[in-house]
């Protein structure tokens, strides 16, 4: 991995952020025929509409509106919430920190389950264990988050009464209680990702097991454990990094729904609240922060891939 490759990769992030900002601004501010009517509703008085248009600078040319908005956004100033009157940038960043806790825990749990599961299924290819994991992962990719979340709540919160169904307790307040409240949302999000990733690990492992270098290792008489750990796992897990990176985008989408259902005040729930209330600055801030998080995550995955796979020489 050379410095120029890294530089180009970082420039690409900057470009991505720019494109995303044009889209977010365009979809939220330009697409509605009149943002002032959108915000105040059809029954607003002409005076109120005129005042709001002036405040939002809607009379200015579009590029000026966009430049002003982007300039603010780059410094974290996305304007004031139409709903609460508070600055939306800081509000969304606090919400993001809660979402990242949820996402991080879900990602960790997923990796701990999905990799062994996929490996196990691959080694038992075609047998009962493989078929059962295949069936379960099929179910996992065919159930939307809100269904899994509802079923999980029905089972663990209503029937068994093991865990609280909704709510959020900050980690700094009471660690055990906080984790108890996070348990079901984390379970929901990771279940779906386990389904994706274990399927991927399985097929990658099977590919590697059929490769020439594994056959060579077997013919050399290397012990099975060494073949599995040093030769198979290493090569099978590399492509999985890319899948996990793609899943982060999926994870961010899933988090929107899961936070809404479990009443976690993360960025997804704030976004839904903003969309329902037509709070334009909050929608813009939430969407930008989420998209930038995703762009950064996939860039990090690319860099990790390049660092780990010595066959790849980017220049």
């Amino acid at each position: 991995m050379s410095a120029s490759w890294l530089l180009r990769r970082l420039l690409l992030v900057v470009y991505t952020v720019l494109v995303v900002s044009v889209l977010v601004f365009g979809i939220t501010q330009v697409l509605p025929a009149d943002a002032a009517v959108t915000l105040l509703g059809e029954n607003a008085t002409p005076e109120a509409l005129a005042a709001l248009r002036l405040r939002l600078g809607l009379g200015d040319p579009l590029w000026l509106q966009y430049a002003r908005w982007l300039g603010g956004a780059l410094t974290g100033d996305f304007g004031l919430s139409m709903r609460t009157g508070q600055p939306v940038g800081p509000m969304m960043l606090v919400a993001l920190s809660r979402s990242l806790l949820l996402a991080g825990l879900a990602l960790a749990l997923m990796l701990m389950v999905a990799i062994p599961l996929g490996l196990w299924a691959a080694l038992r290819q075609g047998r009962a264990a493989d078929l059962v994991t295949g069936l379960v992962s099929y179910l996992g990719v065919s159930l939307p988050e809100f269904v899994i979340a509802t079923l999980v709540v029905m089972l663990f919160a209503d029937r068994l009464q093991w865990l609280p169904a909704t709510g959020y307790v900050p980690l700094t307040e009471d660690v055990a209680d906080s984790l108890a409240h996070l348990a079901l949302p984390v379970l929901t999000v990771s279940l779906i990702m386990v389904a994706h990733v274990s399927r991927m690990v399985r097929s990658e492992t099977i590919d590697v097991l059929h490769s020439d270098y594994i056959r060579a290792a077997r013919l050399k008489g290397l012990p099975g454990r060494s073949i599995l750990l040093r030769h198979t796992l290493r090569n099978a897990l590399l492509p999985v990094i890319t899948i996990v990176a793609l899943d982060v985008g999926y994870l961010l989408g899933g988090i929107i729904v899961v936070e809404e259902i479990f009443a976690i005040p993360g960025i997804g729930r704030q976004l839904i609240v903003a969309v329902t209330a037509r709070d334009l600055p909050a929608i813009q801030a939430g969407a930008m922060i989420m998209a930038v998080t995703y762009a950064l995550a996939s860039t990090l995955a690319d860099i990790a891939y390049a660092l780990l796979d010595r066959r790849i020489r980017y220049d």
């Binding site: 690409l12 470009y15 991505t16 720019l18 494109v19 995303v20 889209l23 977010v24 979809i27 939220t28 697409l31 509605p32 959108t38 099929y138 179910l139 990719v141 065919s142 159930l143 939307p144 988050e145 809100f146 269904v147 509802t150 079923l151 709540v153 029905m154 209503d158 099977i206 985008g249 999926y250 961010l252 989408g253 899933g254 929107i256 729904v257 809404e260 976004l271 839904i272 903003a274 969309v275 329902t276 037509r278 929608i283 969407a287 989420m290 998209a291 930038v292 995703y294 762009a295 996939s298």
Partner: protein
């Protein structure tokens, strides 16, 4: 075409998928005629009636027959998901083919932008679009179609480039065939297959995304018997009547599974040489 169907039915996934989809299609076409009761008829005495002879899948919080609502709702959920996928696939196919055809700098520029757009997760993109288009079934459909477009563009381009590099295309070029012949007779039939596989799997996503938008209150509006909306409305009554939630959840899952299976079956049927 019949050959493809025969090969599809020979794969276990394909056979199951075709059977399930035949049933779902029947529900979409004839659901309202076949439904045992009026899906919107309110019956306060029959609220939360458990599944039984009167209501096969029970009655909901307003005493409406859950089975009838499911059958009538199939049309809204499945057909709109199909429409959204079709629109997204067509738009993506045009962009992807154009990019592969132009090649060079244009290809690079188009794909960089497609990648950048894909930094917005699908659900987020749909939320953004619905927030400015307004809520409702048709806007949700349009939002899903737009959210699918960049992904389909990417798939189309890579398939088209792969096909372009095949020996039979080179042979056609060497024979001196015209551009129209090469694109239509040599490339198109081989691009369509992988596109159909990808689109089929995306229908499963579209069903889930559409139900999710309705669940969040941004897609179908009450009292429509849309499956995601049914789950959302029933959530408050999970203690009294779990069947109101379970029935539409199972319907969504079975539909998504059917399309996922069809996609896998088609992939196997189109690649007969791939043994795995």
């Amino acid at each position: 075409m019949t050959d493809l169907l025969r090969r599809l039915l020979r794969t276990p996934q394909g056979a199951v998928a075709v059977a399930m989809l035949a049933l779902i299609l029947l529900l979409c076409l004839l659901g309202p005629e076949l439904a045992p009761r009026d899906p919107e008829a309110i019956d306060f005495l029959g609220r939360f009636r458990p599944p039984g002879a009167e209501n096969w899948l029970g009655a909901d919080q307003l005493g409406r027959d859950v089975l009838s609502r499911l059958m009538v709702g199939a049309r809204a959920t499945v057909l709109l998901a199909l429409l959204a996928t079709l629109l997204g696939t067509l738009a993506g196919a045009v962009i992807g083919t154009l990019s592969a055809y132009l090649g060079g700098r244009w290809d690079e520029a188009i794909m960089r932008n497609v990648d950048a757009v894909m930094a917005i997760p699908g659900l987020l993109m749909a939320l953004l679009l619905v927030s400015s288009l307004g809520k409702g079934s048709l806007n949700a459909t349009l939002a899903i179609a737009i959210a699918f477009t960049p992904g389909m563009a990417r798939v189309t381009r890579s398939v088209a480039l792969a096909v372009r590099a095949q020996d039979y295309v080179k042979a056609a070029l060497a024979r001196g065939e015209g551009a129209a012949f090469i694109v239509l007779r040599e490339m198109l039939p081989n691009v369509v297959g992988p596109m159909i596989v990808e689109a089929t799997i995306r229908v499963a996503f579209a069903v889930m995304l559409f139900a999710t938008l309705s669940f969040l209150g941004l897609g179908a509006q009450p009292p429509a018997p849309e499956w995601g909306l049914m789950v959302a409305e029933a959530r408050r009554f999970v203690h009294q009547a779990p069947w109101i939630i379970i029935a539409p959840s199972v319907a969504i899952a079975l539909t998504a599974i059917a399309f996922n299976l069809l996609g896998d079956g088609l992939r196997d049927a189109l690649n007969p040489r791939d043994e795995r």
